[in-house]
Amino acid sequence: MINEILILLAKVIIIILIPLGVLPLIIHVERRGAAFIQKRVGPNRVGPFGLLQPLADVVKFMFKEEVAPSHVRPFFYKLAPIFAVMVALMPLASIPLCAPFIIGGETIFPESFRSSMGIFYVFAAASLGSYAILIAGWASNNKFSMLGAIRASAQMVSYELSMSITLVAMFFLYGTNDLHQMVAYQNETILGFLPRWGFFYQPIATVIFLVGIFAESNRLPFDLAEGESELVAGYHVEYSSMKFALFFMAEYIHMIVLSAVFIILFFGGYNLLPGMSLLENMIPLPILQTASLIIKVGLMIWLFVWVRWSLPRLRYDQLMDLGWKRLLPLGIINLIITVAFIYFQK
């Protein structure tokens, strides 16, 4: 019993510490990447290559004046950032970092919350993220915040629908909703050299899902929730100091979670990267698998940065058009093609 609880605690702490640990690095990559793309220098003063800049920022956030404007609804105003972090962490409970492994005759599952819900849990928990934004917008009692919040939730909801439709196609292909089995399915090769990743079977679904995770995490080119040019900063106009930092943190954790789900669905999850199997004798397999998942998620994060500075923002009507009139029908067509293909193949 005590053993079980210790193992559970270890799992929880590892899965929370990894995203929180790489968070400063991601923020640094984002800022340096932005500078690189725009031919600027970027933060390079604090520490080697400016690597300590995020830490300096955290310290700065802590010492900032703690303002709660008088027109806000105080309880909900303070609750919103806490709620955002809470909800952002929740889906992590079911993300598998590596394949189940055996220690001392006991099979250990890497995820702390294992149930027959599988990916449903991750999806359901991630869908609660829009409430943090709604609470923040409403509690701020500010026109810009309200507009940003209501826009953001309508946007997240619209893209969730297209993502759900692609998810149906993926369930149909894999025949399971268990994240481990999905990854196991992708562990083989097709045509002798290509890994059997969901991406090669479902390129359309991959694109829809990719657009969906950009919209779900409110990142450019879908940052209509913030919309700097017309809404100032959207739902967090009235937030400053640590409260703002918490929203920031929640957004990045959300990005990491959605990237991990995307990788698991379409890019082989924790399956080893090519060439990594050479190291198998030296390093235990679970560590290698965790490393390859982290590397893949890292590449996704770089894609987030890259897209952010490459694509122009959409107008709100274009955004809704893309979600409801392009991605949704595309998802339906993709589902029908998938079903027809698998049915007639046999």
Partner: protein
């Protein structure tokens, strides 16, 4: 066991807040919390799929819908016209009668309660198989119902979509 009790307590408290709170937004957010706690109860009872759907549909869509309705109506405008006083006695009498009825049922009947082991052991897949092999007509009828609701919603809102000067453009 402790988790079951915790979830039930959370669920009851927030259900009460939904009814008692004078601020409709607070009610809506409490409703959301209640839905999530209820999903937890479903999970503890072994219906994992239902609990996922509870969060995805109820907490993820219906609660958002309520909040949008509140933002759409701008309750503060209507508060002036609302007075609760003249309905208070009626509401009081009706709720007292309902409570009496419930208590009389509890007192006059001997209730057996199910323990968790007595619940039928079902797995998610068994449920699905039943749905698509035995209950396929209700399953298809459900879509027809949803289609009917889509048509209703769109036709009802068509009028308000026509003249937009009432609401703010966003």
């Amino acid at each position: 066991m402790a988790i079951d009790i915790l979830l039930t307590v959370i669920c009851s408290i927030f259900a009460l807040v939904v009814v008692i709170s004078s601020n409709p937004m607070v009610s809506a957010f409490s409703l959301l919390t209640m839905f999530v706690a209820m999903a937890g109860i479903f999970f503890q009872l072994g219906s994992t799929f239902i609990s996922a759907i509870q969060v995805l549909v109820y907490a993820g869509a219906i609660a958002i819908l309520f909040i949008f309705v509140l933002m759409l109506l701008n309750i503060d405008d209507y508060k002036k016209h609302l007075s609760r006083n003249n309905v208070k006695p009626i509401v009081g009498i009706v709720s007292a009668m309902v409570l009496l009825g419930v208590f009389s049922i509890i007192i006059t009947n001997n209730f057996d309660y199910l323990s968790k082991d007595q619940l039928p052991q079902t797995n998610m897949m068994d449920l699905f198989k039943e749905l698509f092999e035995k209950y396929l007509v209700p399953f298809e009828l459900a879509t027809m119902l949803l289609l009917a609701s889509v048509v209703t919603v769109v036709s009802m809102l068509k009028k308000s979509l026509g003249n937009n000067e009432d609401g703010d453009q966003a």
